[in-house]
């Protein structure tokens, strides 16, 4: 069956406020992915290499309900991960002795880093090869195209 807005409009609020996944009491984190990967929803967290050196460790987001909306152009349901104060922003230390490190994407993980929830792959990887270099994640969203429901 094809969903109508009477049902589509429930998706965002339900997902954005879902405590077991996107809205936990202990905030989810975003990690840098520092080895190349193929996006795959069946992957496990152990399949990703995550940034772990000084300045490049996972950053906690905001606990509780996340943002949700409808895209005015595509009609997609958008659930956006709230950005913490200071942003999802990483900066290499000075001196930077662990590089160069190439960032291939961003991984949304739970607070204890036991599971991942979503992955964003960069179109072009970014290499950090010196001190005081920074990288900031784009808006991290889940876009749900309910017209694909049948």
């Amino acid at each position: 069956m094809k969903m109508t807005n009477g049902l589509i409009d429930t998706i965002g609020p339900l997902l954005a406020a879902d405590v077991p996944t996107l809205a936990p009491v202990a905030a989810n984190k975003v990690a840098l992915i520092t080895d190349n990967f193929v996006p795959d929803m069946d992957a496990s967290i152990g399949d990703f290499t995550l940034g772990s050196t000084t300045g490049l460790t996972p950053i906690a987001g905001v606990a509780g309900t996340q943002l949700e909306s409808r895209d005015p152009v595509t009609g997609e349901v958008i659930v956006e991960i709230k950005t913490p104060a200071g942003g999802f922003r990483w900066e290499t230390p000075d001196p930077f002795t662990d590089g160069p490190i190439t960032v291939y994407g961003f991984l949304l993980i739970d607070n204890g880093a036991a599971n991942w929830l979503g992955v964003h792959k960069l179109t072009d990887p970014i290499t950090l090869d010196g001190p005081n270099q920074q990288i900031t994640a784009p808006a991290l969203t889940f876009a749900i195209d309910a017209t694909k429901v049948y």
Partner: protein, 150 residues
């Protein structure tokens, strides 16, 4: 972001299990109504846009209590949600009242008929002009593919 499989399936559990909408049980269980005037599937449809069959003449199905069934299509891998009718097979059968009636599709609606959740248009309308004529009905089922979320 590409979701992990857990997140992808979570949408089905949250939306399909929502007791305020399509996951409700008696006395609020949703109906599947016959649509007996021409229309086209569209997310912007509301209940008032459609002409439903007269429920007193069996032109509707009612979801059975506790009947939410979650599965995945073995071939397409689509996630599925469905409910079982409370009283009879998924077949539309004409009574002697109000004929002829043409069936254009079916609508998943709230128990009070006020909120439209989903529709499924028949490939070809089916006209009933004699008592006991019958045709198979689409089920009270929603499915979505692995690329629902990006």
């Amino acid at each position: 972001m590409l979701p992990t499989r857990v997140m992808w399936l979570r949408i089905r559990e949250l939306v399909g299990g929502n007791v305020l909408t399509i996951g409700a049980d008696d006395p609020d269980a949703p109906h599947l109504f016959a649509i007996i005037a021409p229309y086209t599937d569209n997310p912007n449809l509301v209940a008032a846009d459609l002409t439903f069959g007269p429920t007193q003449f069996q032109w509707s199905f009612l979801a059975a209590d506790g009947s939410i069934d979650l599965g995945e299509d073995a071939i397409s891998q689509a996630a599925s949600w469905q409910r079982i009718d409370a009283g009879r097979p998924w077949t539309w059968k004409a009574s002697s009242v109000g004929l002829p009636v043409t069936l254009y599709g079916v609508a998943l609606v709230s128990n009070d008929g006020a909120t439209l959740y989903a529709t499924e248009q028949l490939p070809d309308p089916v006209t009933f002009d004699r008592i006991n004529q019958e045709t198979d009905s689409p089920r009270m089922r929603l499915q979505y593919p692995r690329d629902l979320v990006r």
